[in-house]
């Protein structure tokens, strides 16, 4: 970028020099020179980022308001496109992708990297002025993949915030009313106890469940089964991530636990979905006693005094195997496509969003744990429930570890198979063993097909 083209005419050279000087002046005068603004922006040449950056995200996360703030802070033009997989695919296929894209690091990183669409951001992080290596929370390792294993190798993205998704939010009022002891803020519950408590907490009006005792569905059944199997002491996915085994004793324990839950009818399942579609409104209506939702759900209660009064936060449960794992299945953040035409500026936007003023604002909201250790002290602790959740969450961090997900198929595809086959087992027309065989056969066929396509 800074080399001089010998073929450059004098007129062209003067024009470019003028533009460069004007640009430098504009950047110097812009708020980009204020605090929390990337200086080098990871540019290999060291020049300031410029040009236009298109961010594909959800309007509630990085919308026009954030784009305007980014433009003002960085002195570059930032545009937004609403996140849409179809649109992303079309933009990638046309060779004109967005420069920054929303993604769920935990579930998507191996898939994106194996398809060579995500840029290795290590060189950019190495030069970052806002994100220091020792300040990065280990959860950001979900955005790393070395071609064999998730959690190692280059970074391909960065979380905007995260949760350990199997931690529990509970409604203390419902526990008290049912005469059930509230979960401990420090000691994890056993999954079997959680199930029994869920049965006691469930309220019915005829055939209708008016209060759900428990919702352990998390962000998708495959990741939940992978976690439960891990807790039982096994592994659902093979080391090469090219096959699954639902028939192992540990996986069978996981499946049976879930089937016990589903057959008890104490919470949402594929056969009996929560009409609200997610736990927030149900919890706020006093109709959800406990849910494995992760820290982020607490953000909802700060503006809802009724829920704030009764909400409590507890560690992720475990089996009686002494294994304690508290995973993150989201790590939602941003990545940069390899085909982006303006990666320096794209990283400047990513860096500003993850470590600049927007990150501080997010940290105080309680909608997730900041991805930088230095920002975690800003997490809300004003209300009693916030203070309790903060303390429990900080203690829970040590049980985080990265779970590797397959690069061969999307989690959606695996979850589609599970939700298709699960109802028969819940109804009792197939056993857990038969369900395992069906899942093994169908999911392994998907994985084999995905692997073949990556050859």
């Amino acid at each position: 970028m800074t080399t001089t083209n010998p073929g450059l005419s004098r007129r062209r050279f003067l024009a470019l020099s003028g533009a460069a000087a004007g640009g430098a002046l504009a950047v110097g005068c812009s708020p980009a020179s204020s605090t929390n603004t990337p200086a080098a922006a990871g540019s290999s040449s060291g020049s300031a980022a410029k040009g236009t950056v298109t961010v594909m995200s959800q309007s509630g996360e990085f919308g026009p308001k954030e784009a305007k703030a980014a433009s003002q802070a960085l002195g570059i033009t930032v545009k937004t496109v609403e996140y849409d997989l179809t649109k992303l695919t079309a933009m990638l296929a046309s060779g004109n992708p967005p420069d920054v894209v929303r993604g769920m690091g935990a579930l998507e990183t191996p898939y994106l990297v194996a398809r060579q669409v995500a840029e290795n951001l290590d060189p950019y992080f190495a030069k970052s002025t806002l994100i220091k290596a020792d300040d990065i929370d280990p959860v950001n390792d979900v955005w790393r993949y070395d071609g064999q294993k998730q959690g190692a190798g280059p970074r391909y993205g960065f979380a905007k915030d995260y949760s350990q998704d199997c931690t529990i939010w509970y409604n203390g009022g419902l526990f008290d009313a049912a005469g059930v002891t509230r979960p401990s803020p420090t000691a994890p519950m056993l999954l079997d106890e959680l199930l029994e408590d869920g049965k006691k907490l469930t309220k019915r009006q005829g055939a209708k469940v008016s209060v759900y005792g428990l919702n352990p569905n998390g962000l998708g059944l495959f990741s939940q089964f992978a976690w439960l199997t891990d807790l039982a002491g096994g592994k659902l996915s093979a080391d090469d991530l090219a096959s699954v085994d639902f028939s192992s004793p540990e996986a069978q324990r996981a499946l049976n636990w879930y089937l016990d839950y589903a057959k008890a009818g104490i919470g949402p399942t594929v056969l009996n979905p929560d009409p609200n579609g997610w736990d927030g409104p149900t919890f706020q209506a006093g109709r959800m006693a406990s849910t494995l939702s992760g820290y982020w759900l607490g953000g909802l209660f700060s503006g809802d005094p009724k829920s704030a009064k009764v909400a409590g936060f507890a560690p992720a449960p475990q089996f009686d195997t002494s294994r304690r794992i508290s995973p993150c299945f989201g790590g939602t953040g941003l990545w940069i496509p390899r085909a982006s035409k303006n990666k320096d500026a794209a990283f400047a936007v990513l860096e500003w969003f993850m470590a600049g003023d927007p990150a501080k604002a997010r940290a105080t909201g309680g909608w997730g744990i900041p991805p930088l250790k230095s920002l975690q002290k800003l997490m809300p602790q004003k209300l009693p429930y916030q203070k309790q959740a903060y303390e429990t969450q900080m203690a829970e961090k040590q049980y985080f570890s990265v779970m590797s997900f397959t690069p061969y198929v999307r989690q959606d595809a695996i979850n589609t198979v599970i939700t298709r086959e699960l109802p028969k087992a819940i109804k009792g027309t197939t056993t857990a063993g038969q369900l395992a065989d069906t899942l093994n056969s169908q999911i392994n066929a998907q994985l084999a097909d995905g692997k073949k396509r990556l050859r």
């Binding site: 994106l112 979905p273 009409p275 097909d449 995905g450 396509r453 990556l454």
Partner: protein, 326 residues
């Protein structure tokens, strides 16, 4: 009449073929240019939005594209062959066939019945016509979401009525009840069919009915021997458009399910062909296979339409001879 027109054209022809003045384009060229200018927007739109996507989808159908990876391989007709061996594709196509066989005749019959009733000289006829037609103009997405609210397990009106009668609520939006909700949703739009049949009924000359009455024909005889045959082109039109629409059903199936989390949560009873296509595209990222499925659906629709037209040749009565037939 026809020969008189020909005569007029013949006499007028020499005047039209005047030699153009110097520098002026001949009228035929001007006419052609005007024609092409007028049709250009359609042609451009057709090429850009139909021909190109169709061609691109066909190319994709010959590959194992996942929509993201630059590593795409040419697989020939493997995807088409797989369609015949994929039990999910076959079962989803079968469900779509049953859905079409049930909803198309029911929709047409309901529309025809309403049209016959509202063609009678009854009070507030216009109001009834408007009220029955109204659901047909509600966008399918809006209608599906409204049905979701009505049949919501906890807060829906349907379960509210059951509760007030002392009955247990029903989980409408999952198997096996979801298919009944879907059929109800489709029938909800039968006002569209009613309007078309009404227009056809009003086009039937009253003299024919009166002559039949004079000859002693009963209402039923008059309806089956005069009304239905004269309405048959309208019915054929509804059958063809109904079959095409039903085979392509998508949004109502996706939106009327209990959860809006994508194709994976659509109840198995409503897991029809287009839902499977959607799942293959956006859950499984099998763009090549999904594109082949779409081309296969195109072939099926074409075949079914041709069969219907062929079968209808002997059963549809045209008051005007179709063009090209003498």
């Amino acid at each position: 009449m026809s020969s008189a027109l020909t005569e007029v054209r013949r006499t007028a022809a020499p005047a039209a073929v005047e030699r153009p003045a110097r520098g002026k384009k001949p009228p035929t060229l001007r006419k052609a240019r005007t024609f092409y200018l007028f049709v250009a927007p359609w042609i451009i739109g057709f090429v850009a939005l139909t021909v190109f996507p169709l061609g691109y989808a066909f190319w994709l159908s010959l590959t194992d594209s996942d929509g993201l990876s630059p590593k795409t391989h040419f697989v020939g007709f493997d995807n088409y062959i797989e369609i015949f061996h994929d039990p999910l594709t076959i079962s989803s196509l079968a469900k779509t066939g049953v859905f079409t066989l049930v909803t198309v005749p029911l929709g047409i019959l309901a529309g025809l019945l309403l049209a016959v009733i509202l063609n009678q000289p009854i009070k507030a006829r216009g109001l009834f016509r408007a009220l029955i037609y109204l659901p047909a103009v509600v966008p399918p997405v809006g209608a599906a979401l409204t049905f979701r609210l009505i049949f919501d397990r906890d807060a829906g009106a349907a379960n509210g009525i059951l509760s007030s009668l002392g009955l247990d609520p029903i989980t409408w939006l999952v198997d096996p009840n979801a298919r009944y909700v879907l059929y109800g949703l489709v029938m909800w739009g039968c006002g569209g069919s009613m309007i078309i049949s009404l227009a056809g009924l009003q086009d039937i000359p009253r003299e024919l009915q009166e002559a039949a009455q004079v000859d002693g024909a009963s209402y039923w005889q008059s309806f089956t021997r005069i009304t239905i045959p004269l309405l048959s082109p309208v019915i054929l039109f509804q059958i063809i458009t109904g079959v095409i629409g039903s085979l392509q059903s998508f949004a109502p199936l996706l939106l009327s399910s209990g959860s809006l989390s994508g194709a994976g949560t659509v109840p198995q009873g409503n897991y029809m062909y287009m839902i499977h296509v959607f799942a293959q595209y956006f859950s499984a990222s099998r763009f090549g296979y999904a594109s082949a499925m779409l081309w296969m659906l195109f072939a099926v629709i074409l075949l079914v339409t041709l069969v219907i037209i062929k079968v209808s040749a002997k059963t549809v009565f045209y008051t005007v001879e179709p063009e090209g037939k003498k």
